[in-house]
């Protein structure tokens, strides 16, 4: 049993009580170790006040359990969170949206897209780092990523039930004039309509009612039907998909960090819409000093919360005046944001999106902007011809059609060390209702032989319509 589970059991299984720890009467306070085990790699993290009245090592995920000199105290909710006890401003490590990076042990948070988290090499986005998502051409796939990033922050903030709502653990700062973003944020994916319907039916059937009992008695062949269903499922590999697509390790991780990342349905809306306690808008068109000071004051106001900064559609001509596209106008803003990010690196992350099609003839301009970000990825949507080819190749599997390529230019932490992580045309993305997926890219094989054969045989085909019909149906079966 993991510590998390143990904590949950001890605190009546209520996740909302994880942070709550009453101040110890003895003054010396020590809490149980948490899932965020690699504390030693983070010297600046919350380790308690040294030399002060309260000497304690505050660790995550043990909010409701603390030990003092007199013994073990379980439960109890206090208005103090872990770090509020020692008065520091660092982030509470019991935050549901934080986990250590498997590569570097740095604390990371989810971007909101599981595949992009994996692509970063940290299963997320290391705190204190910034990511720039570039997009070529005039498509707007990057807005999906910026919205799921925003939604993920709001969902983290609401994870811990009513208490989480009240105090909050995450705050989103959006540097944009588009205040409608709050109404456009996607909601958490709750399964397909079929799944929702099925779960409703199962819920209804599980109720002990007279009609349900009668129904179960009148259908003795239900077990036979079930085995038949399973047989069909096995044949088409339906059940395999669920078991093999996720490795046991992934299952462990989702069990250990259940609220780390969520799947979002871009056709739905986040309900209720974020409030001013969860999201702050700052205009990037103000003077650099006032933008930066507003960001700093917002970070200070939301002390001990995880701060997710979003800078969407950077230098978009509809949002930014032309003068902002000058190097000496935009670089101070980005440099200032980077400085703030590094100053509050224990609880801040920054995501920005930009369309590069406007700056294609200015490679140095883009290079200077990219230099100020820790990670840079580039989305290159496919052209019409490529999409047509993919549609042809995946005629029977339309959900396999990718929408573009993902190029990696820089990865947070790794590239800083000097490691080379440039990956061009190695990954492809596809945007669906329920997921923004990134997968390995492989050029699809188009069955040219069939088409050329058909072209050659076309005169003969006219003469033998029956045979052709037979051949066509045969090919169809083969495809299937």
């Amino acid at each position: 049993m993991s510590f998390r589970k143990r904590c949950e059991v001890l605190s009546d299984g209520s996740g909302s009580k994880r942070n709550a720890a009453p101040p110890s009467p003895g003054g010396l306070q020590r809490e149980l170790p948490s899932r965020n085990a690699p504390q030693r790699r983070l010297p600046a993290m919350n380790r308690g006040q040294i030399g002060g009245a309260v000497v304690g090592r505050v660790v995550s995920n043990a909010g409701s359990i603390h030990r003092d000199m007199n013994g073990l105290h379980i439960g109890g909710i206090s208005s103090h969170t872990g770090q509020q006890i020692d008065g520091s401003t660092s982030l509470n490590l019991s935050h549901p949206g934080i986990r250590p990076s498997p590569a570097t042990s740095q604390q990371t948070t989810s971007i909101g897209c599981a595949d992009l988290d994996k692509l970063m090499g940290h299963m997320g986005f290391p705190l204190g780092c910034s990511l720039l998502i570039e997009e070529e051409s005039t498509t707007d796939f990057n807005s999906v990523l910026s919205k799921v990033y925003a939604s993920q922050g709001i969902v983290h903030n609401r994870v811990e039930g009513s208490r989480g709502f009240k105090d909050g653990n995450t705050h989103l700062i959006v540097l944009s004039l588009n205040h409608h973003l709050t109404k456009e944020l996607p909601g958490v994916y709750k399964g397909s309509r079929k799944d929702i319907k099925k779960s409703k039916i199962a819920k209804e059937q599980s109720k002990v009612t007279v009609s349900n009992l009668l129904e179960s008695q009148s259908t003795p062949t239900s077990s036979g039907q079930r085995s038949k269903d399973l047989k069909i499922a096995w044949r088409y590999g339906i059940n395999d998909d669920a078991t093999t697509s996720k490795s046991s390790r992934e299952y462990d991780q989702s069990e250990t960090y259940p609220d780390y990342n969520h799947q979002f349905d871009i056709t739905s809306n986040l309900i209720p819409a974020p409030t001013s306690n969860e999201i702050s808008f700052i205009s990037p068109l103000l003077s650099v000093s006032s933008v930066l000071s507003q960001v700093v004051s917002t970070i200070k106001r939301h002390d001990s919360k995880l701060i997710r900064i979003l800078l969407p559609n950077l230098l978009h001509p509809a949002l930014y005046p032309p003068k902002m596209t000058q190097l000496h106008e935009i670089i101070p803003l980005l440099h200032g944001l980077r400085s703030i990010l590094k100053n509050y690196k224990e609880r801040c992350v920054l995501l920005s999106t930009i369309s590069t099609s406007l700056f294609n003839n200015q490679p140095l301009f883009m290079a200077q902007i990219e230099q100020l970000f820790d990670g840079v990825i580039n989305l290159e949507p496919f052209g019409q011809e490529m999409l047509q080819l993919l549609e042809k190749a995946y005629k029977s599997q339309p959900n396999k059609i990718q929408h573009g390529l993902v190029h990696i230019k820089k990865l947070p932490v790794f590239s800083e060390r000097g490691e080379m992580h440039v990956a061009k045309s190695e990954w492809a993305f596809k945007n669906g209702r329920k997921k923004f997926e990134i997968e390995e890219w492989g050029i699809p094989v188009e069955d040219d032989e069939d088409t050329s054969k058909k072209d050659k045989e076309s005169p003969a085909r006219k003469a033998q319509p029956f045979q052709d019909e037979h051949q066509h149906s045969h090919t169809k079966n083969l495809d299937f």
Binding site: S287, V288, S289, L292, S293, V296, L327, H328, I331, P332, H335, G336, R338, S339, K342, N343, K345, N361, Q362, P363, L364, F365, M366, A367, Q368, E370, Q371, L372, V376, K409, K410, S415, E416, R417, G418, E419, M420, H421, V422, A423
Partner: protein, 266 residues
């Protein structure tokens, strides 16, 4: 099968940084160029290690044999316009360089917040003052990404050289300028912007002033599993102001993986 690893040698006396550089009143400039794909942080670390620990111990899996502790203590000062102080201190801590052996200036931390709207001369004078207090008679100064000042304060390349690089060169024995040459390889369009001209001019001026250029670049042939990039040592436009040693031109391949860097002759 074991692969032979080669050691980094920059000077004719088979050293990475010769002790003769810090003798007398000479001032020399060395340039390190990198790209976004291949950051030169490992090379900067190796150069700092050479002065503080006597050799680039982090290279080639701590098997470097050219450890030679400098007889005269050399002050190492690092100033970056991009990275914060904690970035360097944590990196040097990992390499076990004692904190009293170097000093990192806090320049990038509040560069914009403190100086936005101020006259450029005042900003540069403040930065210079920071360096003046930190630098000593025999010192090595690592200056990272000074070109950012051009974009931040609308400074021309010539002004940057006259107001910052030249005075700093006079203050230290060896000035290492780390600059990015990202996108310099691309064919610039005909309508070359003013900014591009200034950035290229800055790098070219640095090249003319330096006695050696250490160029860290990715492989021209693309990504490889066992090679991260190339390190080319080429003479710059200036002569070394020390007669006892000369820089040696060389070409290495390097592999950087999980904080370990291995060098190979090309």
């Amino acid at each position: 099968m074991s692969v032979q690893k080669q050691e980094l040698q920059i000077f004719s006396d088979h050293t990475v940084l010769s002790k003769h550089l810090f003798e007398g009143a000479s001032s020399n400039l060395m340039m390190v160029t990198d790209t976004a794909a291949t950051n030169a942080s490992w090379l900067v670390n190796a150069l700092v290690e050479t002065v503080t620990l006597g050799g680039p111990v982090s290279l080639n899996g701590n098997n470097s044999s050219s450890a030679e502790v400098f007889s005269v203590p050399v002050k190492v000062v690092v100033g970056s316009f991009l990275n914060s102080k904690s970035h360097f201190t944590s990196s040097f801590d990992r390499l076990k360089i004692p904190r009293n052996e170097y000093s990192v200036l806090e320049i990038a931390e509040d560069l914009v917040l403190k100086n936005v709207g101020k006259p450029v001369d005042v900003v540069i004078a403040t930065i210079l003052k920071q360096f003046q207090t930190a630098l000593g008679e025999r010192s090595l100064l690592v200056l990272e990404k000074p070109e950012l000042l051009m974009a931040l304060f609308k400074l021309s390349s010539d002004d940057l050289h006259l107001k910052l690089i030249n005075p700093l060169l006079k203050l230290c024995s060896l000035l290492i300028v780390v600059t990015s040459v990202e996108s310099f390889d691309n064919d610039f369009p005909e309508n070359l912007g003013k900014n591009t001209v200034e950035f290229v001019r800055f790098t070219t001026s640095c090249f003319h002033k330096s006695f050696l250029v250490l160029s860290v670049r990715p492989l021209d042939t693309g990504k490889a599993k066992d090679v991260t990039g190339t390190l080319a040592l080429t003479r710059g436009g200036a002569l070394l102001d020390v007669s006892a040693v000369q820089p040696v031109e060389n070409h290495y391949l390097f592999h950087n993986f999980k904080e370990n860097t291995s060098l190979f002759y090309r």
